[in-house]
Symmetry: C2
Subunit: 353 residues, 2 copies
DNA sequence: TAGTTTTGTGTGTACGTACACATTTTTTTA
DNA sequence: TAAAAAAATGTGTACGTACACACAAAACTA
């Protein structure tokens, strides 16, 4: 059914139907009702090709995400966003990615300024510097620019959508996996490895989930839980890490709530004679982690489909702006359990081009 | 860049550019080269809206999959296919699903006939009745109708694409998970539960993978491996199943290579006092299995994203026919490890509308 | 009641592509 | 060398929608 057919059935012109469809007014209530009835009955849906052709709109989406070196976590969301752009550029979705330094608030505000100057039709934001991100969302609200959040959420923002993970549950899962590997009494270390001083909500939630599981399991009788903090790059951090891993008090398992467990794995590899029985569970399928998973030093990794997060974030703008569909307000991606035996089929697990 | 622009640059008419683009001939080699050069340099890409509008093509895709009752495995691929249709119908993808009875060859051939009569532009086929499916693919080849395979592959067919899982690896993974749960000596039972007599390649490969892992692990010293076959609906099948589960010889774990592990779980629930310590690993997130996973009777389920399989199968035809893109010839979906702690975020794990 | 505004309605063009058909140029034939 | 055939090129229309503009009818104003 086309506008032409509707017009014929209603005995009006194309223009009148058009005005009804777009609520441009200037139509008598009588004819409006007549036309609407026909539209309803005929289940009219606009031809998206014709519409796309005539509108020839293109939408500028700006993404603001942390910068990264090769093989680091934030490479993956960026990869997903770029892959989505490849598929969606032909539908008028144009992308600009801006990268900020996670360790520098000024870098973030600078890039945020730049982003606002672009006057984008939509924004993808990774609010890892929470406080500053909130400020930006306020400005976006004022400018009436819709935005999506990836990785972590800002609870009371009116984001178009949030795409991320349930960090608390991720921690619980990590605990469960670690416990399944442990058969004897001993100490479990939670080692927070970070490269900056920022408070990271995701890490905190994972740790809470981890503890929640342990304290509520009947494992707790056999387990001593210790927490360590390691700051990459500080003096003696490597020694401190070794110290944290060392089985002085009979360490049986280690959990790292960030993507940095490869540092622990490396440490264990270097002290393999004394530490080989320690079980490791960590997060994220970055190259370094995968390496140690393959070697059997890391036992499980928990994946949160970061590429998918990026892909879906851009795609949701396509659905919202181009197709004018509703998009889900919140999307938790599955927490994938990765081990040697199922690793191979997760490596290219993005919506492919 | 549009055809018009190309024409202007090449000092020819739109028609000539069109002939070059579509290789309709009747163009001198000179002008052809000139036009091609400009196309190359300008990185011309046809406007898919204009093209879609003028072609106004619609493609009929027929899917031939097993029928199902609510909550059975084959509901999920069908669900995925239908969801894809919902998203893609506006791009001219029309779907007809034909259901056959897995236990009846004649049902399959009948529906295959029906399918050929539809003269579809593409076919999605679940070759669970392998021999008959091969015959159908031959006919499709003759009729030059492209087809995609889901669930299991037909190795030397020239399918447009195969979308499924690595069953052998799935079995290995199951074994790994089961072993991680077992701390003592004992017997592991592999119970094949089927509702028909058909030879099922997937089940066989899973079993092989399972054994492969066990035999090559250092667990084998502590483990006795037994295989059972249960045919649903035959006389005494429930007793036979209980027998297969019963810890007469100290059963510590059970693996079911089909989606039918809920029958085992039910059996164990009924004999909870004697069987509660048996660990269970099975396949597929069907409702009944999920129920027992939640109860903690099933320890792990391995998922193969059946909805995604269906979704991707139809989407690949969209990409191939509408967008005229290449599609990957083979796509193994990840083997998801599902346990109580990460179940919740797998339930709506389909590409959403 | 003529003129003006308001309200309602119809017409025409553009978007970029595909394809049928018309026209021009070149080559071949008698 | 003129006529016919073949090759090369150009023109025009349609697809369905959005929107600017033109026009007509009704409702005001003076």
């Amino acid at each position: 059914m086309t506008i032409k057919e509707i017009a014929k059935l209603a005995n009006v012109s194309l223009g009148t139907v058009d005005r009804v469809l777009h609520k441009r007014g200037k139509v008598s209530k009588e004819t409006e009702k007549k036309v609407l009835d026909i539209i309803e009955k005929g289940n009219y849906k606009p031809n998206i090709y014709a519409r796309g052709l005539v509108l020839n709109r293109s939408y500028k989406i700006a993404a603001l995400v942390p910068n990264y070196n090769n093989g680091e976590y934030w490479e993956m969301p960026s990869k997903g966003i770029k892959m989505a752009e490849k598929n969606l550029s032909q539908f008028g979705i144009n992308l600009s990615i801006l990268y900020f330094d996670q360790n520098s608030v000024s870098s973030f505000t600078e890039k945020a300024e730049e982003l606002l100057k672009l006057k984008p039709d939509g924004v993808i934001l990774a609010p890892v510097i929470n406080f500053e991100a909130v400020k930006l969302t306020k400005k976006l609200d004022e400018a009436k620019i819709p935005f999506s959040l990836i990785d972590s959420n800002i609870p009371n923002s009116n984001a178009l959508s949030f795409i991320g993970q349930d960090a608390f549950q991720s921690g619980k899962l990590a605990a469960k996996l670690l416990c399944s590997e442990i058969n004897s009494k001993g100490t479990i270390s939670i080692i927070s490895i970070k490269n900056n001083e920022n408070h990271n909500k995701t890490l905190q939630q994972r740790i809470e989930g981890f503890k929640d599981y342990i304290y509520n399991s009947n494992f707790i009788a056999n387990i001593t839980l210790i927490e360590h903090n390691i700051h990459l790059g500080t003096a003696n951090w490597e020694e401190n890490l070794t110290q944290a891993c060392a089985p002085t008090n009979n360490t049986v398992g280690i959990f790292v709530p960030s993507s940095m467990i490869h540092h622990v794995a490396k440490c264990i590899e270097s002290n393999f004679d004394t530490m080989s029985t320690i079980k490791l569970v960590g997060n994220d399928l970055i190259a370094n982690n995968v390496k140690y998973l393959k070697k059997g030093i890391i036992n499980y990794l928990i994946g949160q489909r970061p590429e998918n997060q990026g892909y879906l974030a851009l795609e949701s703008f396509y659905k919202y702006l181009v197709l004018e569909k509703q998009v889900p307000q919140k999307k938790y991606l599955p927490l994938d359990i990765i081990t040697q035996e199922n690793l191979m089929y997760y490596n290219d697990d993005v919506v492919s081009s």
